[in-house]
Symmetry: C2
Subunit: 188 residues, 2 copies
């Protein structure tokens, strides 16, 4: 993972990061991902290529950091009033986002340019945090809830495994069946 985690918000280093990330996002849509180069990104961001290399090491690590930012959930999970409904809605949305062409590319980028595994771990933490919100709401309503690692194993892991390794049959009904299979022992 880049030193991003240590960046002081609003400091120069945070501004460099934001302008470089913004340059990557803009150039991705203008020239396409395969045409991205560090000099091109640096010119658009108004920094020197050596600033980018010092900070990110290489293009793959930069793209990995940008991918993790793109995979950060933008909204709280929807609240529909039952664990089954909330977890099913979250799971369908997670599948839509991760299995989309953009989502697949970001997941691959996040994994690829990630020598120490920090970015992949952040992707997993985003999913676990959203699941924790769903579970805490359900527990607050007095529902029996599985623990978050069980939901990761039973719902997130099969979806991500199939997105990466075994895409046949990966659809919303499969995602709903994963949630139903998990919650069944809890009396639903």
């Amino acid at each position: 993972m880049s030193p991003r985690q240590m960046v002081r918000p609003g400091g120069r280093s945070a501004r460099v990061q934001e302008s470089v990330h913004a340059a990557v996002r803009a150039l991705e849509s203008e020239v396409g991902r395969d045409a991205l180069t560090v000099p091109l990104i640096a010119r658009r961001a108004g920094v020197t290529p050596s600033t980018v290399y010092r900070r990110w090491g290489d293009l793959r690590e930069l793209l990995s950091d940008v991918a993790v930012e793109r995979l950060r959930p933008e909204t709280e999970p929807e609240e529909l009033g039952s664990l089954a409904a909330d977890l099913t809605a979250w799971t369908e949305l997670f599948l839509d986002e991760m299995a989309s062409p953009g989502g697949r590319a970001y997941v691959r980028d996040a994994l690829l340019g990630d020598p120490d595994g920090g970015n992949a771990g952040q992707c997993s933490a985003y999913a676990a945090e959203q699941i924790e919100v769903v579970l805490a709401r359900a527990a607050g309503r007095g529902e029996a809830v599985p623990d978050v690692e069980t939901v990761v194993d039973r719902v997130v892991a099969p979806l991500m495994y199939r997105i990466l390794f075994r895409p046949a049959g990966l659809d919303a009904s499969y995602a709903r069946a994963l949630v139903a299979g998990l919650l069944d022992p809890f009396g639903r």
Copy 2:
């Protein structure tokens, strides 16, 4: 995936593939993975770099094909006499192989140099084929067995997800618990 699948065994193209794969394996141990280049590999394999580029596109696709070969299981799953024992033994071995530094590197290579997903699919097919052997033996003994896709979701997917995204707590007892949790509904 490279045209490997279409290669006629024993043909020139098969000999080129074997010599290039052998060159990659030899150079990986001699100079290390990060020092590998297509010209270096081609020289060792006794072919021209353009042969490698024509056949594999780039170094990453070549490394992806070599990784899939390395991930091919070399032995049949051990037969211990019960589904629980056989699946537990296979799962512990699968975790040992995939979570080892070499295994993690091969899984990453297989995934990342794989524009069309064929190599990742082959990795998944290797695991599914081994599981099918375990399940067929158990069914032959009259045991109740889950279907192979359920074993992929409940055992293979959590292990691979945690290897790639969430390694904390990934050990043999976790692997055994995945198998026990899957087989419990079947009366064990």
